[in-house]
Structure formats: C-alpha cells, structure tokens
C-alpha cells in the first residue's frame, strides 16, 4: 500500500508541477517535459520490468489531465521506456561517462520526440506544417533549444535524486517485510 501511494504521489506531483506550475511560468516555450524525465529516471533506477505498469499509469494520467485523447502518452512513454531500457543494457549505463552521455541523449531525444509524438495526435491534420514549425523551434532557435535542455538536465537531476530516494525507501521497506515474515 505504501509503495502504491508513494508512486501515485510521484505521478500526480509530476503532472501538477508540469501543467499547473512550469507551463504557467515558462509561458512561450515548453521547456521541459517532466513526465518523460520521470520515465527515464524510473528505468535507470528500477528497470523496465519493475516500472512498466507505473509508466502506463503515468501516461494514462497525463492523458486524463491534458484533456486530449486517451492513449498517446501511454504509447509514447511505454515505447520510450522500452527503448531506454534496451539501449541502457546494450551500452552499459553503469559506466560513469558513457552512462552520463546516454542520459543526456535520452533527455535531448525524449524532449524532441515528445513534441513530435504530440503533433501526430493533436495536430495530425496539418502534420507537415506543425512538424516544420517544431523542427524550426528546436534546431533553428538555438537559444530555446539550449535553454530547454539545460533546464531539462537540472530537472532530471532533481527528479532522479527524488525517484532514487523513494525507490530505495520502497526497497528497504520491502526487505524489512520479507525479513519479518
């Protein structure tokens, strides 16, 4: 029960910080997508097998609170989680520098793909126009691109530390329960 409540708490906290705080401060640009950063942190800390159900739930609640179709975020987060898990295993994320580099790549690609994925489902009628606009926003407006990824990096560090602490706490609680049995 404690495990369930803690992870639900993380999901709601991330969503509310995103839609009710960050998006009201960074008005003109979507500088950071906390949900995809949480997916990355969960996969690195606990692995795909342990977290996939929670990632589905994170996607579901993103869809619920964003008031769009139900499904796009579930699809995006689960696919991202699988790819992150696959790449992490193949390229030894445990090694300090390669791990760091991979995380940076995950953040960059995750942010960009998040925007592209949403165009597919939100602006699907005018896919090419909005896609061009988004690509322009990412690769031509370098200031926004750099600021967005710096903020994402800082946010990831905070989320990773937070998620890591909570997952360790959950693991300790589970071990204690096993011992007492």
């Amino acid at each position: 029960m404690k495990k369930f409540l803690l992870r639900i708490f993380i999901i709601f906290l991330i969503i509310f910080i995103q839609i009710n705080f960050l998006d009201l401060i960074f008005l003109k640009n979507n500088l950071v997508n906390l949900s995809i950063l949480t997916v990355i942190a969960w996969i690195i800390v606990s692995g795909f097998d342990k977290m996939w159900r929670w990632i589905v739930l994170l996607g579901f609640f993103n869809d619920i609170f964003l008031a769009e179709k139900i499904g796009p975020n579930i699809l995006f987060f689960v696919l991202s989680a699988y790819l992150i898990s696959f790449v992490s295993k193949s390229f030894m994320i445990e090694r300090r520098w390669s791990g760091f580099l991979l995380v940076v790549i995950f953040i960059l690609v995750g942010n960009f793909m998040g925007s592209i994925f949403n165009i597919l489902f939100i602006n699907s009628n005018m896919f090419s126009e909005v896609l061009l606009y988004t690509i322009k926003d990412y690769f031509i407006n370098w200031n926004t691109f750099i600021v967005a990824n710096i903020i994402s990096g800082i946010s990831f560090f905070i989320i990773y530390t937070f998620v890591n602490k909570i997952e360790k706490y959950i693991a300790r609680s589970e071990n204690r329960l096993n011992i007492s049995f």
């Binding site: 509310f16 009710n20 499904g71 796009p72 005018m126």
Partner: protein, 272 residues
C-alpha cells in the same frame, strides 16, 4: 514455450500496451473517460489551484526582479502621467458620453450587457502550440460548452470547449478548429476569422468587392449565433490581394498576448 514465459517477456508487455493504447486512440472514447476525468480533475482541484497560485507568485516575483532597473524610470513617468491624468479627469464626463455614442455607432459591445463569470487560469497546454487553457470555473458556476471567453474591454480570446464540475477547458481563437464570423468596423467587410494553428488569425472569405485596409479593427458579426456581436478580435496587419482568387484574405493581429493571460471572463449570457 510455456504461455507464462511468453507473457513475462518485455517485448510482449510492450506490444500488448501499444496495441491497447493504439486502440484507445483510434476508438477515441472521450465520453467513456469523461467520468474518470471529471472525478480526478474535481478531487485534485485544490492542489491544482495551489500550484497555479504558486506559479503566478513566482512569475510575478521574477518579473519584479527583472524590472528593478526600470522601476525608477517608470516611477518618474507615472508621476508625470498622474499629473496629466488629473488634468484629463475633468474631461472624463464628456469623453464617456462621446464613448457611448461611438459604441452605438461602431457596434462594439461594452461589457455591461454581458453576464460575466471571472475565472483564473490554472493550467495551460503543455506543448508549444499553447492552444488551450484550463480555468477554475465549471458546471457549478453555470458554464456551458461554446460560451465565449473574453478579456477586459470585450476582446474575444476563445471559447469554452469542455466543461467539468469545477473547471473548464478553453480553446483559443488562434486554434485551427476555430471559425468565427467577423466584420471590419471601418469598412463593414465581412468574413470568417480562422485560427492559424495557434500562431495567429486569418480573415478569410472576404469578397473581392469588399474593402480591407491595414489597421482596420475586426469585430465579431451577428451571423454567429453563439458569439455576441461586437467583440474585438484584432486589427488587420497584412492583406493578401490575390486578384485571381475568389476571396480576399487578411492576417489579423490579436490585441492581447495570449501567453500572458492570467484571468479571463466567460460570457454566460448576453443581450445583443
């Protein structure tokens, strides 16, 4: 291979979830999930309001910090303006009378005829398009789908798209799905204002015989049944005078920066 071994494989889980999510997207069961959505939005509303209030304070604080250098200059300007306003105050009564006359001549609505519900913006579209906002008023406050949303001085900014118990989603007029019947104040040219994928507004379907001028004010016309007449939509910034086309087009510059809105008014009913 045993069934349990197959189902426990990572690729099986991913495929199953992807198929399910794709079916949900294609089926698009918005009504099916409306109850769930209303429930979660309702029970978390106080927390959402808390976060949005924190965001507003943080934003104001940031703006205050960044404008410290300007404050001294602004203070001087304000003092000068104050003196000028005192002098102008004497003429206000006359101006108000003239204003009433002009409003009736130009058919621009004043807010007096509207039953307005003020609302605070508590959420925003998280993607770059900035196509919608979430406001802190809903069914409980008498809001309904299709109601017009304005800011001060009768400037149209959007329409209520989806109503929950205590919140509502408002789509901006710059969104691609929006079509509003409009006319220009100065020349009376009629057309349709269309959203430009969150990037701006275009006035379309204007007859070649109608006269458009840069700087003309564009207001809502009385052809739209659900939008009150006379709400300001914007000013014409650019005209596309393609002679071989059946209709003229113009780009409308909205008078407000939609990104900076904090409060809006929903028109619950009105007398045209």
């Amino acid at each position: 291979m045993p069934v349990k071994k197959i189902t426990s494989k990572k690729i099986f889980k991913v495929t199953a979830v992807c198929i399910l999510a794709t079916l949900l997207i294609l089926w698009n069961p918005n009504n099916f999930f409306n109850g769930t959505r209303t429930f979660f939005v309702g029970i978390t509303l106080p927390v959402q309001k808390l976060f949005s209030s924190l965001a507003n304070r943080t934003y104001s604080f940031g703006e205050a910090i960044s404008s410290i250098g300007k404050i001294k200059k602004e203070n001087k300007n304000l003092m000068e303006e104050n003196l000028r306003l005192k002098a102008q105050n004497v003429k206000v009564a006359d101006v108000m009378k003239e204003n009433e006359g002009l409003r009736s001549q130009l058919n621009i609505s004043s807010q007096e005829g509207f039953n307005l519900e003020s609302a605070r913006i508590i959420g925003r579209d998280i993607y770059n398009n900035n196509s919608w906002i979430l406001i802190d008023k809903g069914k409980r406050n008498g809001l309904e789908k299709g109601m017009s949303v304005i800011v001060a001085d009768g400037i149209l900014v959007g329409k209520v798209e989806e109503v929950f118990d205590s919140t509502a989603r408002v789509i901006f007029i710059t969104e691609k799905l929006m079509n509003i019947n409009v006319e220009t104040v100065e020349t009376g040219a009629v057309g349709v204002a269309r959203g430009n994928y969150g990037l701006g507004l275009t006035m379309d379907l204007v007859l070649q015989t109608d006269n458009l001028k840069i700087g003309d004010r564009v207001i809502t016309s009385d052809i739209s049944q659900d939008v009150p007449r006379g709400l300001l939509v914007g000013e014409i910034r650019e005209i596309d005078l393609a002679k071989n086309e059946l209709f003229q087009k113009a780009i409308i510059a909205p008078p407000v920066d939609f990104f900076k809105l904090r409060f809006v008014f929903v028109i619950k009913n009105y007398n045209n």
